[in-house]
């Protein structure tokens, strides 16, 4: 790689699975300390892109370069723990290696979830579980946090809190963040750069630039922007005409 400050670089990545193209000519770069948010409709390949970037899925063609020896913290999209699996938060956070309880407590403190230290994982609320997952991702002082839909299963108020938390973690730890989000309006304040994905990269840039980009408007519909404006004024308001956004709301809620 030419750019020494780059933590992660994808070059012309294509991915075919079972004859279907899931990623098409995707190129991207992530620098140290940068927050990049990937947005896109359902089935756009957001999680797939994350998995390719992490090396969990080899691309059909193209290059994926992670800086040698990089420490990556990963927060998966869903955690299915069978109810028969007796696992406390403490155990969940110490199971990946030699980690002292004090270190677990300090990480839980950073994400504001010390109260669940001894709780069974299955008993956590959506927001608590996301915080615990975030704490696990942060366990080994990562230089890059990869978060797949970090606000999933969290109510709207909790979502913006979580995004603020992620933004604060980046400032304190100076780590880079690559995350997937369903909706741009809540994540706007917490991200440096947005990458709008629909198998290929539709557009990318600052949140402001992306929201006014024709490709973004085409993907999410002109109502998305209207929705954005509505959102900031009245969170309970629903636009009947805005089918796309309603679908997004349902998913996020």
């Amino acid at each position: 790689m030419n750019d020494v400050s780059s933590l992660l670089e994808l070059k012309d990545v294509n991915l075919f699975v079972g004859g279907r193209q899931l990623l098409q000519q995707v190129s991207m770069q992530l620098g140290a300390g940068e927050i990049l948010t990937i947005i896109g409709p359902n089935g756009a390949g957001k999680t797939t892109l994350i998995r390719v970037a992490l090396g969990l899925l080899p691309p059909t063609s193209g290059q994926v370069n992670r800086r040698a020896g990089i420490r990556i913290g990963y927060m998966p999209q869903k955690l299915h723990i069978d109810p028969t699996f007796p696992l406390t938060v403490k155990r969940f956070l110490t199971m990946s290696g030699k980690i002292q309880p004090a270190q677990v407590l300090s990480r839980l403190g950073e994400v504001g979830a010390t109260q669940v230290f001894d709780a069974p994982l299955q008993n956590l609320s959506g927001g608590e579980l996301q915080r615990v997952l975030l704490a696990r991702a942060m366990m080994y002082d990562p230089e890059l946090l990869v978060l797949d839909e970090p606000v999933q299963g969290v109510d709207v108020h909790g979502q913006s809190e979580l995004y603020q938390l992620i933004s604060r973690i980046r400032e304190q730890r100076r780590c880079a963040v690559m995350m997937v989000s369903h909706d741009l309006h809540l994540v706007m304040a917490a991200t440096d750069r947005v990458l709008c994905l629909n198998r290929h990269i539709c557009c990318s840039g600052t949140p402001e630039a992306v929201t006014s980009h024709p490709a973004y408007l085409e993907l999410f519909g002109p109502h998305a922007v209207q929705h954005l404006a509505v959102y900031t004024h009245d969170r309970s308001h629903r636009h009947d005409a805005c089918i796309d956004c309603r679908a997004e709301d349902k998913h996020a809620g």
Binding site: L54, Y74, L79, D82, F85, M95, P120, R136, V146
Partner: protein
């Protein structure tokens, strides 16, 4: 004392129950009950193979179970068939193929019931060697894999990102399951192997706050079921394998009546 068939039965049953506890816990946590069934159902094919090659029948079962485990490992990577559909095809296909293959062997007369439901009272010294040798090996393997296997049970991709060789460990784990299924056959038979794996583990869940305690309790509950089942079988002249499973079910029900201590 080893001459006493009842003592050998008890010893063999306890050996199997000790191994079944920790493995059964993973089967429950990872929802592999149907998977275990499929391996067990293929055992009859292994018996046929044993007769065909004139080798030890347990060895024949072991070979077939291992083959099926390999087949399942690759089968679950394809996305065309849902994994329970695939398991259903292999499970019943293997069971039927085993029955048909045995029917073709005209000079072989076997007690089918002994294979379907176990023949614990006929456990000999060689069987005990299989149970304690094979079972001990499987248990040692499981202990060796314990930590990474727990991490994989929580989330495969997360384990991968944290540097655990997930595929290799899953591979070994399936091989170990195939080994214990072959070993457990003698005690409860191929139709009831999964029962002895999952019922004690499910019973232990209510009283365990961490994975290790649950595995240990499952072993103890399994031993209790074996002892109670054998006693019942001896007293009322009922088939031993099913009696053990009935005892396990009763213990499970009894567990629900006790106050829960669950984390």
């Amino acid at each position: 004392m080893l001459d006493d068939f009842l003592f050998r039965a008890l010893l063999g049953g306890i050996g199997v129950a000790l191994v079944a506890g920790p493995f059964g816990s993973f089967v429950v946590w990872r929802r592999l009950a149907y998977f275990g069934d499929t391996l067990a159902h293929s055992a009859l094919l292994g018996v046929a193979l044993g007769f065909l090659l004139q080798i030890n029948l347990t060895l024949g079962i072991l070979v077939i179970c291992q083959l099926l485990a390999v087949l399942l490992f690759f089968g679950q990577r394809q996305k065309r068939l849902a994994s329970d559909t695939l398991l259903g095809i292999l499970s019943h296909g293997a069971l039927s193929l085993g029955l048909v293959a045995l029917a073709f062997m005209e000079n072989v007369r076997i007690d089918l019931m002994a294979y379907l439901f176990g023949d614990i009272l006929a456990i000999g010294t060689v069987d005990l060697v299989w149970i304690f040798g094979g079972g001990g090996l499987a248990l040692a393997g499981l202990l060796w894999l314990w930590k990474p296997l727990l991490a994989i049970t929580v989330h495969e991709d997360l384990a991968r990102v944290e540097g655990i060789p997930v595929d290799r460990i899953n591979w070994i784990f399936l091989g170990l399951i195939a080994l214990i299924v072959a070993v457990m056959m003698k005690v409860v038979g191929l139709l009831l192997v999964t029962a002895l794996l999952i019922i004690p583990a499910a019973t232990a869940r209510r009283f365990a706050g961490n994975p290790e305690l649950m595995a240990l309790l499952a072993s103890l509950i399994g031993c209790l079921a074996v002892a109670a089942g054998l006693y019942g079988s001896f007293t009322w002249d009922t088939p031993a394998g099913p009696s053990i499973v009935v005892a396990a079910c009763l213990l499970f029900l009894f567990g629900w009546l006790l106050p829960r201590r669950e984390a």
